[in-house]
């Protein structure tokens, strides 16, 4: 365990700069990659950690996170059985295991994918000019300070590329295992780049689990979906309860392409999803659904920007949070409809179900429309269980606790059932819905 830092007198930012120096010394990235790391660090220094009123962190307190004396994990060992436990049925021969952000070939098996899918390291992939320029561009235009930290510290990364007109049968799972820090908090930076060539299809399931505590998993995914391709992207956040989990998704959608995103959040000390999508050619469709069940002091925050850049695109968002005890959830989502993006169809719905008085939900759904012929709707609710429904169930002999359990579970189930991958649905019925059982 090298390169431990303490918060220096110059503040949390300089601690990151110090950590970065040690990172460069120990890792010795290739010149091309080093240039990207450095560029990202420059962006980090510009962005700085969010202050209290930062517009992207209105509802998220990152003070504890920014000031935690993170180190970088060097060696991690993990049991094969642990991995097997978390590989979904159907992904036995199509999973990539990342331990503390680093791909572990001996714990991965991609044989079912065949030659139609290219899986490699980003460090290799940037030899391709277009990959490099896209990465470069996203680093330069990075608006999220934590994502810039990911770019500054990324080492190998994973590149997944599906060739033209290949519809991949086998669902591909990425399993992110965090082993945590024994002597202090550690940060890991999983980095994935997914590129779907025209007419291709891929179902990608990304699961995050912890095998230890005291970690910050700070992941970034760049996704490009070309003409008429479909990417289904299912994320299951199931980290250790004292973890920090930040995840940024950037999706670029070309003509008639589809992105179908599903996010299930089990909760942790602090979870933040940052989703940004660009519908940049006509006919593109983006779907983003999420469900979270939060108890005790767990927190989960959604930050979403969807950009309708051209005409005839569609986006749907539906998020449901169940909040118990002192848990917190927030939703900050904006749909931007550019001038000229006529015939845009967009909706956004957020429902929060509060099971306690101490829980907290913030909602900021927002539409910015610069075109005139569009169909946009948004709505947000924060509410308790419906008294009429509760009473109805009780008049059928079901106890108040059971009636509450039935109603809260059905609230979450409406999103869970939509997830187009049965093993995740079954798992969430066990994990998320279990959190709602009357005891």
């Amino acid at each position: 365990m090298s390169s431990t830092i303490a918060e220096s007198s110059n503040g949390a930012e300089s601690a990151v700069l110090d950590l970065h120096k040690k990172f460069i010394e120990t890792n010795q990235p290739s010149p091309d990659f080093l240039a990207l790391n450095r560029k990202a660090l420059g962006q980090f220094a510009k962005l700085k950690f969010p202050h209290r009123k930062h517009e992207m962190y209105t509802f998220v307190n990152t003070k504890g996170l920014a000031s935690a004396p993170f180190s970088l994990k060097k060696e991690s060992s993990i049991q094969r059985e642990f991995v097997e436990q978390h590989v979904y049925a159907g992904c036995e021969r199509s999973h990539l295991t990342l331990v503390d952000g680093v791909l572990r070939p001996e714990l991965s098996d991609a044989t079912a994918l065949g030659t139609a899918v290219m899986v490699g390291s980003l460090a290799e992939a940037i030899k391709d000019k277009s990959v490099k320029s896209l990465l470069q561009e996203s680093i330069e235009s990075e608006n999220d300070v934590f994502a810039s930290i990911n770019s500054a510290f990324m080492t190998q990364g994973i590149m997944i590329r599906v060739g033209r007109d290949n519809q991949i049968e086998a669902p591909l799972q990425i399993l992110n295992v965090s082993t945590g820090g024994e002597s202090g908090p550690v940060m890991t930076v999983p980095r994935v780049y997914v590129h779907l060539e025209p007419l291709s299809e891929l179902k990608l399931i990304v699961k995050y689990v912890g095998e230890g505590d005291n970690y910050f998993v700070n992941s970034v995914q760049d996704m490009v979906v070309e003409e008429n391709a479909t990417l289904t992207h299912i994320q299951v956040q199931a980290d250790s309860i004292d973890a920090w989990h930040f995840s940024k998704n950037r999706v670029r959608l070309k003509r008639d392409s589809r992105y179908l995103g599903y996010q299930a959040t089990n909760g942790a000390r602090l979870v933040r999803h940052h989703n940004e999508g660009w519908l940049s050619e006509p006919g593109a469709e983006l779907v983003l659904n999420g469900v979270s069940v939060l108890v005790d002091d767990e927190q989960s925050h959604q930050f979403i920007r969807v950009h309708h850049e051209v005409e005839n695109c569609t986006s749907h968002q539906c998020f449901k949070n169940i909040i118990n005890h002192r848990a917190r959830a927030s939703f900050d989502g904006t749909v931007v409809v550019n001038k000229g993006a006529q015939l845009t169809s967009s909706d956004q719905l957020i429902n929060n179900l509060m099971l306690s008085d101490e829980g907290h939900a913030d909602c900021k759904p927002n539409l910015m429309i610069f075109a005139d012929d569009v169909k946009c709707a948004h709505g947000a609710t924060v509410g308790q269980l419906d008294e009429g429904q509760l009473f109805y169930l009780r008049t059928r002999g079901l106890s108040e606790d059971v009636a509450k359990e039935i109603l809260t579970q059905s609230f979450a189930r409406s999103i869970i059932q939509e997830i187009p991958f049965a093993p995740v649905v079954e798992e969430l019925n066990q994990t998320l819905l279990k959190k709602l059982e009357a005891n």
């Binding site: 419906d386 008294e387 009429g388 429904q389 009473f391 109805y392 169930l393 009780r394 008049t395 059928r396 002999g397 079901l398 106890s399 108040e400 059971v402 009636a403 039935i406 109603l407 579970q409 059905s410 609230f411 189930r413 409406s414």
Partner: protein, 248 residues
């Protein structure tokens, strides 16, 4: 079986029921009629234990027990069934699964083992056949998107499954077309026997042609202003409530 004694009750401090007394024996069917807003549904909700309604004074004795002391679920388990005038929709809860949970709650209360979905399906299918109900009632979510008449049928299906000792049916006939009314009424008649009792709240003589009441009561402004045999319903149908309320 049920003894209501000088019941004063209402909602948020407002008295709606102003002294109701009613005695119901096993094997009897009582119809309660009366103008809109007279308190019929309020009485039904009080009997079923709705938490928003208050009892100011009076007593309700059911099978020797103080019914008002029991929670809504305990009343159900004790054999009281409420067929709602406006059944609520419960999206996300499969109807067959809901019915099975209700049935199992009863079994557990009686110290018996729960039924699994397959075994329960036999019971469910039998009752659905009795009421001429299609398969969609199993497949859909509870009352979710059901038409008014479908919801009422679903109430009677629940009654058939739970086999209550005392049923209170609040305007079950409203919203049913003439064929559905006949089927539902036949179903209710088949469930009726000398050991259970029925309170039918209705506006229409039509229902009482199918389910013959032993007594008819007229509720107005929170009071029973007249009780009689089934011929009273015919008089009401012919003359409206005015002849009663104006002389009162």
């Amino acid at each position: 079986m049920l003894e209501i004694k000088d019941l004063h009750a209402g909602f948020e401090g407002t008295e709606i029921l102003k002294g109701i007394s009613l005695s119901i024996n096993k094997g009897e069917t009582h119809a309660i009629m009366g103008p809109n807003g007279s308190g019929k549904s309020t009485l039904a909700k009080i009997l079923s234990g709705h938490p928003s309604y208050e009892v100011f004074s009076g007593e309700v004795i059911y099978e020797g027990k103080n019914l008002l002391d029991l929670s809504a679920e305990d009343r159900s388990l004790a054999g009281v069934f409420m067929g709602f005038q406006y059944p609520v929709e419960i999206p996300g809860v499969n109807n067959a699964e809901f019915l099975r949970m209700a049935y199992n709650a009863r079994l557990v209360n009686e110290g018996k083992d729960e039924l699994d979905p397959l075994d329960f399906d036999d019971i469910l299918q039998e009752k659905m056949d009795l009421l001429g109900m299609e398969n969609k009632y199993k497949e859909r979510n509870c009352n979710d998107g059901f038409s008014g008449g479908e919801k009422k049928k679903n109430e009677i299906l629940q009654m058939a499954i739970l086999k209550p000792a005392l049923s209170v049916l609040d305007e079950t006939d409203s919203g049913l077309d003439i064929d559905a009314l006949r089927v539902v009424a036949n179903g209710v008649n088949k469930l009726n026997n000398e050991n259970n009792a029925l309170i039918l709240i209705t506006h229409y003589q039509r229902l009482l042609d199918y389910i013959k009441p032993d007594f008819v009561h007229v509720l107005s402004h929170g009071k029973i202003i007249k009780s009689g045999g089934k011929e009273l319903a015919h008089e009401l149908e012919a003359q409206g409530y005015d002849w009663l309320t104006t002389t009162n």
